[in-house]
């Protein structure tokens, strides 16, 4: 690990001011410290955000939806009963994310911005394309964990379990920097690395996520989440599926279907959503949606198994909304 300075501001404005070039924001540190130890991040200054008031915790004001502070530890979202009643998919998606220790340290904002787990990317000695090299080693290398959909130069997959669940509820994020504030849809935060964009998201330098918001109307949806792993715990998703819909008199509206672990970004499948709109989520409709979700899939040498796996998880997740 390189030598660095450390500062723990008390206010957001101080924090934003300190986040100049060469500085990294530190929250739970569950990803950043690993990146630093592996020589993949070399910040000169760590701005520890955990002393900042007001970014931790969640609230739900009547009719105004849900607001989750970016510094809220994942375990709080998982354990809060009231939150579980309002949005059960949070607990469902977090239950198998990492370990309890990591969920206790890790924060919502950090989870949204965690870097991919590709073993070539994480290997300091490998100059992969995403790190400025000339090629993606996984394309012709060891790619059992890699993307089957939506990849360009880099075939790493979006690792978060929480993010597909939030996108299925049309979550928005509030962003702040020393230049001002803005909001965007969470889904728009992510980009599949390509061309000159050798990065996984569009956060600007010096910018922080301050809050995640879910609207009241989205909270009326029913949601479900499923994840396949290489063992029964502490494993990033081989495939994860988040689905949500408003079910009225047996008919589905506002259908959302988002996959994790299959593409460089959380993979929302609008075509499948449209096909399910107005359906009763019967077996045939769910099976068709599962096929649509995998349309255009281009498996690599070792990850073809993700197709049948994803197809079945999509079908099951969708069916679980009505049975």
């Amino acid at each position: 690990m390189n030598a660095f300075s450390y500062v723990r501001p008390r206010t957001l404005s101080d924090g934003l001011r300190l986040l100049r070039s060469g500085a990294s924001a530190l929250a739970g540190g569950t990803d950043l410290l690993g990146l630093m130890k592996d020589g993949l991040a070399r910040p000169e200054l760590l701005v520890d955000l955990t002393g900042i008031e007001g970014l931790r915790g969640w609230s739900r004001a009547k009719g105004k939806g849900l607001r989750i502070g970016a510094l809220t530890p994942l375990v709080e979202l998982e354990e809060a009963e009231e939150l579980h009643r309002a949005m059960p998919i949070l607990r469902e998606s977090l239950r198998d994310a990492a370990t309890l220790q990591l969920r206790t340290m890790g924060t919502v904002g950090g989870n949204l911005l965690q870097r991919n787990r590709c073993w070539y990317f994480r290997d300091q000695a490998t100059a992969c394309w995403l790190k400025g090299g000339t090629k993606c080693f996984a394309v012709e290398g060891e790619n059992r964990l890699h993307a089957i959909l939506g990849a360009h130069e880099c075939v790493a997959v979006a690792p978060s379990d929480l993010v597909p669940a939030l996108i299925a509820y049309d979550a928005e994020i509030a962003l702040a920097s020393s230049r001002g504030r803005r909001t965007m849809k969470l889904a728009d935060l992510y980009v599949a690395p390509h061309g000159r964009e050798r990065r996984e998201h569009v956060l600007r330098p010096g910018e922080l996520i301050t809050e995640v918001r879910v609207s009241e109307s989205a909270l009326a949806r029913k949601g479900a989440f499923q994840k396949a792993m290489e063992r029964k715990a502490w494993s990033f998703a081989l495939v994860s599926v988040a689905a949500a819909a408003r079910i009225e008199r047996g008919v589905a509206r506002d259908v959302r279907l988002v996959l994790g672990g299959v593409a460089p970004i959380p993979w929302r499948v609008v075509a499948a959503e449209r096909g399910l709109e107005g359906s009763g989520f019967d077996e045939a409709a769910c099976a068709e949606a599962a096929d649509r979700a995998l349309q255009g899939a281009a498996p690599l040498r070792d990850n073809g198994y993700k197709l049948p796996l994803a197809r079945e998880l999509v079908r099951r997740t969708l069916r679980s909304l009505v049975v």
């Binding site: 073993w119 290997d123 290398g141 059992r144 396949a228 715990a233 049948p308 796996l309 998880l313």
Partner: protein
Amino acid sequence: MTRILKSIEEFEGEVSESLVIVDGHDLPPARHDGGSPEIGRSRRRIDATQRVTGRARYTQDLYLAGMLHARILRSPHARARVRRIDTKRAEALPGVRGVLHRFNTPKTPFRGDDVIFREEVRFVGEEVCAVAADDEDTAREALALIEVDYERLPHVVDLEEALGDVAPQLESDGNVSESGSHKRGDTKRALKEADVAVDVTYRTSTQLHNALETHGAVALYDGEMLTVWESTQHVFGVRTGLKNALKLPYSRIRVICDYMGGGFGAKNGVGKYTIVASLFAMRFGKAVRCVLTRDEENLAAGNRSATLQQLRLGAKGGRITAIEHTSWSNSGQGKWIANPTGPTNTLYEVANVNTRSYKVVTNAGSLSAFRAPGYVEGAFALESAIDELAEAAGVDPLTLRRRHAGAGKDPITGNRYSDKHLLECYRIGAKEIGWDRRRAGGTRGSAPHRRRGIGMASQIWGGGGGPPAYATVHVDPDGSVVLTAGTQDIGTGTRTVLAQICADELGVELDDVRVQIGDSAGPFGPMSAGSMTLASVGPAVRLAAHDAREQLLGAAAGVLETPKAELRLEAGAIVSKGARTPLGEVLGKVDNNTVIGKGIRFPNADDLAQKTFSAQFAEVEVDVRTGEIFVERIVAALDVGRIVNPLTAASQVEGGVIQGIGFALSEERIVDRALGRVMSGNLEGYKVPTVKDVPTIVVKFVDRPDRRANNLGAKGLGEPPIIPTAAAIANAVANATGARVRHSPLTRARVLEALALAGIRD
């Protein structure tokens, strides 16, 4: 009278003969009437408090005053010639004390090479330089400043690629060499005459040990003695390795392993890190610490070889008539291989057997022994194939095995087994799992798309141990006891069971015995490997305790003025006609005298084969749409002779089963073929089982003393429980689904592919 005797021992599947100096006579077999105060009793580990309170000192915990830190620069290339090394920038870094590499390091013989830094480095992770610095960060920083000029050479890392024609040939006689064969009967004819035959290919992936504590050593040189603390399974083996490398006499080397965080076979001898730490220690006259990181551990500290195995089996009239088994093992840069055909050669009484085992060299890290090396890989293939044959022949797989598992003789040497209760293991295990519930084709599972199945597999392994092994028992005047033995506790509970044996034979309380092991300053003992610790050292401890007791009773007879024959030593007191005098009180009369009992391990009978046997039964569910396997229950029924401590014994079995589950389902070293790099070299990528992956494990022991094996009647238990687990699970999966997965671990990809092939998934 001192004399020389011959002994036959088995280590890791290899039988060898040795000569032993003995004196006096061995004890008759220990009684087994349930009346032993300690043997056969469950006892908490005597060092449990030290361990759980963090007071137990492991090698990695050792920070000595003024200690230097050594780190190793490793080859980034799978194969290259080291042409030039420039250390100027590294040596200019403040805090750097020195750099070792091939151009400045004296000849230091190491495992068949005469240097530790080779001119041609042959795998990613091979040692190129070592740096000693005042602190760890400086040492690491210095590594990045060393400039090495490599001439890259063509390489091959994959087993099957190395077997092919286009692969670079790494040795003058090619990449492949035969390492063993066995032939009895005529398999060709038997296969021709068989009613049914199966011809199947199995693969097992490379498994990494990933002991909690990585490899490492701390060396200290005071101008006279080299003292090395090392996380090792054999303090004497490290001593020998250092003697050969550094040309010091044994008397000037002391190796200590007080506590260690696991080894699983990868810590059986000296490491390059030991030699590096020692060379620096001797050069600077300071303590030097060299401990591997997890990444280094998974590159260069050993593994269980990947294998490719072909089996042809024939059956006639409901009996197995022929087995042909050819195996290729990826030894990496190792100089040997473990033998996957071992179980095929010896487990079943089959008339026609023909096996061959080949070593394949590649540009990958060397194999090292890994908990039943060869037999885990071999049992996966053999025991899967037996089930495939049973299915083809329409015979229940357990019934088929029963027909061949009763033999009383080792089929290779013709020697009788000292004891064998494999059929009893089958009976116990089948009853416990409910084998009669098993249905061909499996049964319905607990959720939609889930199938349920039961499978089993059996095991043969050594575990008889043997000489030389020594112990002494010192009884101090206060009646407290120090047991010194040539061994180390690698996490199995050795300290505890040796204390039990000593207390039992001597007639003192367990708490009165302090155990002094893990120190080459004491008497010699074997490596804690090959399931031989207890069966080797235990009988010596019993003899030493017996010797001490006889002396104590003699002393007590004199002090109490009572005939020795009327005295007993029980629970730390001399008992005479109902009167109890505490040992300390008796010895108080002869204060400052020390009673020293001495024990050795007598030879094994040279006309017997000491083996361990067991069977495991697995019950699983399989989701046939997602390929997910749920192991619900493992029943292990074992014949390992007498059980000294049922608690630590069960813990050994559970550990073996869990590691077997890892081998079966999730543990896999993944190497990029072009780069030669291990991609899954950390605990994220390399998936050892978590608590949630562990099923109910039922442990049953036959628990009959093997009276012909040694005076304790106990055999080894470290390795038997990992051998049959993967095959039992694969057989249960096949029973549940009809799909046969022939490659361990049974990952999603492999299970889904097998299900698709069997036409089951949709």
